[in-house]
């Protein structure tokens, strides 16, 4: 079945197909229409779920944590200030090893108030222990929700995951979305079967005090889980491609990088436009390719290292920046390569921040700038693209 859906509707469809048993969410632009769509699904019986109307995002995350700990599959969604308000509980969800999946719709942080696409909100949650999938299309939103549950609930992973879509560009824009058959999804994603849960017949404490003699081991196990997730994501996307015919290539997707001297790395919706820009520059004879950072946590260091060996320049486009020194994606890409023999020039492009349209023209200028780095060497490490009155 094919439907025309916004990114947020597609998100809700993913939740429905995953047969989520408890939803708790609180509205915030641009996430709101997910919450509305799910309320509608629940109200007309299309989705058999308990929908908790919480009084804040902090409570939304707390409620799904408690529900998931009671042994059911849960979902929530948020953006920006709502996600920031959840921060404490994001740590809790991951530390408690609960495979919660959430829809995160990227939006800038205030002040100044701004409701448009910007990755700062999710990048700020990088260190909470959640897996992060940055998606490119409405189809990928739905597919990623289903895949994320499968990865998260793997016994050697048991970590929460965010399916991350750009505000408005996906959340409120209609595209054709292929809806997979429920039976196939049920086969791919069997009911949640937690190894432990709150059970009066087997009373245990979940999340109690752990002294310094063992706390580190709990964190080490999370480290191992992120490592396991790397492998699981590759397997799960492959299995998904075999069943449903859509391949997202694991953690990183490469586009026309075979013989490239210069690659541009980015995440989210800018990737679709960038594909066209690569085609154009390729037709002019430039050896340029594109790397889609689909998964940012766990960080795909092996894939990045392998690419770095092949190229002379890596341009990393961040739709956010970490105050003080460049973008987080840039810093991590650069760090991943340091202990290898590869020494491509690396340049950071801060682009589309606060929802500024990332146009084909803007990307073309950026890519040409990276090509120049190849010829003339690195001029500056961090460049703000399309800055008004700027350089």
């Amino acid at each position: 079945m094919k439907l025309t859906l916004t990114g947020n509707q597609s998100n809700a469809w993913g939740v429905k197909l995953a047969r989520v048993q408890v939803v708790a969410a609180y509205p915030i632009t641009p996430q709101t229409t997910i919450v509305e769509e799910l309320a509608e699904f629940a109200a007309n019986g299309e989705l058999d779920t308990q929908y908790i109307k919480v009084e804040s995002e902090h409570s939304a995350m707390a409620a799904v944590i408690a529900a998931e700990n009671t042994g059911v599959r849960t979902y929530t969604a948020s953006s920006s200030h709502g996600l920031a308000l959840m921060h404490e509980m994001l740590h809790w969800a991951a530390g408690a090893r609960l495979p919660i999946v959430m829809g995160a719709v990227n939006r800038a942080m205030g002040p100044p108030w701004n409701i448009w696409a910007d990755h700062t909100d999710t990048i700020s949650q990088r260190d909470t222990g959640w897996m992060q999938f940055y998606v490119e299309s409405n189809q990928e939103v739905l597919d990623t929700i289903i895949q994320a549950y499968k990865v998260a609930e793997s016994k050697d992973v048991m970590l929460p995951a965010m399916a991350i879509e750009d505000a408005f560009i996906l959340s409120h824009t209609v595209e054709t979305v292929e809806i997979p058959d429920q039976e196939l999804v049920d086969e791919f994603l069997p009911p949640y079967d937690p190894p432990e849960y709150l059970n009066p017949k087997d009373p245990k404490g979940f999340g109690s005090l752990v002294m310094p003699d063992f706390y580190m081991e709990f964190r080490y196990l999370m480290y191992k889980a992120q490592e396991a997730a790397r492998k699981r994501i590759r397997e799960v996307t492959k299995e998904y491609a075999e069943i449903f015919g859509r391949d997202y290539h694991g953690l990183v997707e490469e586009y026309r990088t075979e013989d490239a001297d210069v690659v541009m790395v980015g995440a989210g919706t800018m990737i679709s436009t960038a594909r066209d820009v690569v085609d154009k520059l390729r037709s002019e004879g430039h050896k340029i390719g594109l790397v889609k950072l689909r998964v940012f946590r766990p960080f795909p260091y092996e894939e990045i290292q392998e690419i770095a060996k092949r190229v002379e320049v890596m341009g990393v486009m961040d739709r956010s920046f970490t105050h003080g020194y460049g973008g987080a994606m840039f810093n991590e890409v650069k760090a991943a390569v340091y202990n290898t023999d590869a020494r491509p020039k690396m340049k950071n492009y801060l682009i589309g921040i606060g929802g500024r349209d990332v146009t084909a023209k803007m990307l073309e200028d950026t890519f040409r700038n990276a090509l120049k780095v190849r010829e003339h060497g690195l001029d500056e490490e961090i460049m703000w693209v399309d800055l008004k009155g700027g350089e």
Partner: protein, 299 residues
């Protein structure tokens, strides 16, 4: 006052790590006796987040979800929703057990949300009248005149200068089916109230007065006496509100509040003027409670 038999069954085992003479452990013991082991409990940051024991030990015979300081109400809604999804919501009791700070202050929003959402769960606020876990700082439930580490009594006599916030009355305003106050000094009454709460569907709230020798500066062997005198002096009246109808559990001929205050180091700085101010406040609150009982009787 009810007379009832409290069962011998214990759901709190030896090996917990509470201070000597801790009133909050008595509260837990009787609450669990009344609810039984077919219960899922959640506890936020507070003394009781430490008392059950350090991992991998667990001194309670019910499953326990530890959670963050301000989320008890939300956690209760989450557990309830999951039990509904599994079709077990009629079989299993859901209990939140939180301190006064986690209830009156930082957790008030989630508690209000849970009450408004109609979550079928019992929320117990064990009231030791300060943030004890972090070392005796004032809370919204600390009474006027008390010394705490954030209301220290120096030259300027800066004990707590505000009266105690009544969370029970805040919960009455939510129009939930059952609100009660109880005390560790009156275990039969406490037991009966938890049993009643268990029989009612919807959000229930019980505030249990739980004296704290460490924070109140009294000797651990008079924990129960202190709690009893709080009731006898009308400092902490015992009552229940069922569907808006007030019923005072006991109407003792009051002893002067001074008899209660003088047992505790936290009040030892108070001068006659301050004690008089407390007495007037307590008398007025008691009058108000009697009137509420009278006014709501016809409902």
């Amino acid at each position: 006052m009810v007379k009832t038999t409290v069962p011998r069954d214990e759901y709190m085992m030896q090996g917990h790590v509470a201070c000597q003479g801790c009133g909050a452990t008595i509260a837990m013991r009787y609450v669990l006796k009344a609810l039984g082991d077919n219960t899922i409990m959640t506890i936020p940051a507070c003394c009781w987040a430490v008392i059950p024991g350090v991992w991998p030990q667990h001194s309670l015979k019910v499953p326990l979800l530890y959670t963050a300081f301000e989320v008890t109400g939300a956690a209760l809604s989450g557990i309830e929703a999951a039990l509904k999804a599994k079709g077990q919501d009629d079989e299993i009791n859901v209990l939140g057990f939180a301190g006064d700070g986690g209830t009156a202050d930082i957790g008030l929003q989630a508690l209000s949300g849970m009450a408004e959402r109609g979550t079928n769960a019992l929320y117990v606020m064990y009231d030791n009248e300060a943030y004890m876990n972090t070392g005796i700082q004032r809370s919204g439930s600390t009474p006027f005149g008390a010394w705490t580490t954030t209301t220290p009594v120096g030259k300027k006599k800066e004990w707590k200068t505000e009266f105690k916030k009544s969370v029970a009355e805040i919960m009455v305003a939510h129009r939930i089916p059952y609100v009660a106050t109880a005390s560790i000094a009156f275990p039969e009454d406490l037991y009966a109230k938890v049993q009643k709460a268990k029989s009612i569907k919807g959000p229930k709230f019980i505030q249990i007065f739980s004296s704290c020798p460490t924070g109140w500066k009294h000797s651990p062997d008079i924990t129960v006496e202190v709690a009893r005198k709080a009731v006898l002096s009308h400092m902490f009246p015992l009552y229940e509100v069922e569907n808006g109808v007030y019923k005072i559990s006991q109407k003792p001929k009051p002893i002067p509040v001074k008899e209660y205050l003088k047992l505790q180091g936290r009040f030892r700085y108070l001068d006659e003027e301050a004690i008089e101010k407390i007495q007037e406040h307590v008398d007025r609150e008691w009058e108000l409670l009697l009137k509420k009982e009278e006014f709501t009787q016809s409902l």
